[in-house]
Every structure is written in C-alpha cells, then in structure tokens.
Amino acid sequence: MRFMVMVKADKSTEAGVLPSEKLLTEMGKYNESLVKAGILLAAEGLQPSAKGARVRFSGSRRTVVDGPFAEAKELIAGFWILQVKSKEEAIEWVKRCPNPLEGESEIEIRQIFEASDFGEAFTPELQQAEARMRAEVAAGTKG
C-alpha cells in the first residue's frame, strides 16, 4: 500500500522561511531511516503558494487566480510517498518524524489509489493502458 504523507503549511513556510540547520539535520536522519527501511518512494518540498496559482473550473470556463492563498493550514508545504503494509505502519513512521515546522504542525496521511481498488469499472484494457503509461513515465524520468 502506498501513502501520501503531507506536511501542512504555516505562516513561516508561506513566507518562504527555510528550515534551520538543526531541523534539516534531524530531517535528513529521518529521511535516511526511511530509505534504509526501503519504504521511501518520493519526497519533495513545495515553494510558497505566493509563487503558485489556482485554476477554477466551471463548464468550459477556466479562471486563473495567482497565489498566495489564505488558510495556510489547508495548504501543503511538502510531502513523502511511502510504501508500507498498513495505515498503522504509515502512522508509526510519521510519529517518528521530527516536528517538521518550528512551532505547531500537522501531517496528514492519505492512502493512494491503486489500479486494483477500482474493481470491474477499470477494465483489463484500461489497466493495460495505465500500466503502459506509468512504465513510459518511469522510463522518461530516469532518462
């Protein structure tokens, strides 16, 4: 099972404040432990929402709104993707994480959809097309 583990933003991440050397060192050790356990698939940090945009959809209309966006606590500052055996195992790993922000913070854990979750609606043909696309994307990333 794959899980997306998301660090929620706060005022400082939204202001573009970079983490301290102490936190980076602790986080580096934590990330190493994820790698050694063979469960880390990806890890990225996101630039503040001030550098981003939102696209709203209404029928054929598209409205683009530039950042920053209010409600910092609803925004994502970074994420990991972990491959583990259960939600409990994902939670255990997250509890070991150093507090990712200098003050209060929250990490959200969400299970990723796998092809097998979709049942019959996801026909063998669609599954093949999806698998082929993922293989090509993976090959492109490495090249």
Partner: protein, 142 residues
C-alpha cells in the same frame, strides 16, 4: 522547472470511506493524462482515497498526536496530484487549464523546491537528499 498540480475536489472532505471516482470522469481524465505523457512533461501522478480513510498526526504539544479521519475542520482536501516538468509557471497553468475537471474542482499549481535553489549552508545540511531522490527504496519495497 517542476510543478505539482494539486487536484482539490470540493466535497471530497466529507466523502465516505471507499468512495470511488466515476468511470466516465476517469476515462476523460485518462485522455488528459495521455496528453501530458505524450508531451513528455508528466513525471508522476496519483489519486488519493478520501480523508475519512486517512489520519492526521499533529505536533502541537511536542509529542505526536494521532487523529483518524474524517477531519471536520477541513474546508478543502487533496484528491490527487500530477508532477510535471515544464519551462514556466505559465506553461503549468496552461496544462492545468486543459484538465477535464468538474465545476466543484480546483487545481492548485505549486512549484517544487529544487536543491540548487537552497543557500550553501542549507544544501550542506541537506546533503544526501539528492541521492535519496535518485535512488528511492522502490526496489526493496515492492
């Protein structure tokens, strides 16, 4: 430049455990995904089960506190994401605008932090991160 396109479906914050996307919507989305892939800009994509099947770990008290979903305070939650590699934010927004999304959905476009953007002391403290990204534990995990 790498950008994350975050799909935010309004209403998904209240979705019941086991909620599945509609087959027609998935078929339309697959065409869009193929267009991203053919253009050579797609790096990764995933959909997320509803928050009612997830958990939140908060560090408010210094110690981790676990809460199972759903999260009544959430006004918007993530439904899935694409990671793309494009030349500019404008190009990322252009791709987001082409998505066959519904009225209740918003796509947030956010630039990914690249290692090279960090000041040298931060790069030093984060040394090993690039190697981690290059060699994730995929082999042993599957």
């Amino acid at each position: 430049m790498r950008f994350m396109m975050l799909m935010i479906p309004r209403g998904y914050e209240d979705a019941a455990p086991g909620t599945m996307p509609d087959a027609d919507a998935v078929a339309a989305m697959m065409k869009y995904n193929e267009a991203l892939q053919k253009a050579g800009v797609l790096l990764a994509l995933d959909g997320l089960h509803p928050p009612s099947m997830g958990a939140r770990v908060s560090f408010a008290s210094g110690k981790p506190t676990v809460r199972d979903g759903p999260f009544p305070e959430a006004k918007e939650v993530l439904g899935g994401y694409w990671m793309i590699d494009v030349k500019s934010k404008a190009e990322a927004v252009e791709w987001a605008s082409r998505c066959p999304a519904s009225k209740n959905e918003i796509i947030e476009v956010r630039q990914v932090q690249e290692f090279s953007e960090f000041p040298s002391d931060v790069q030093e403290a984060a040394s090993g991160f690039k190697e981690m990204q290059a060699a994730p534990g995929r082999g042993t995990a599957s």
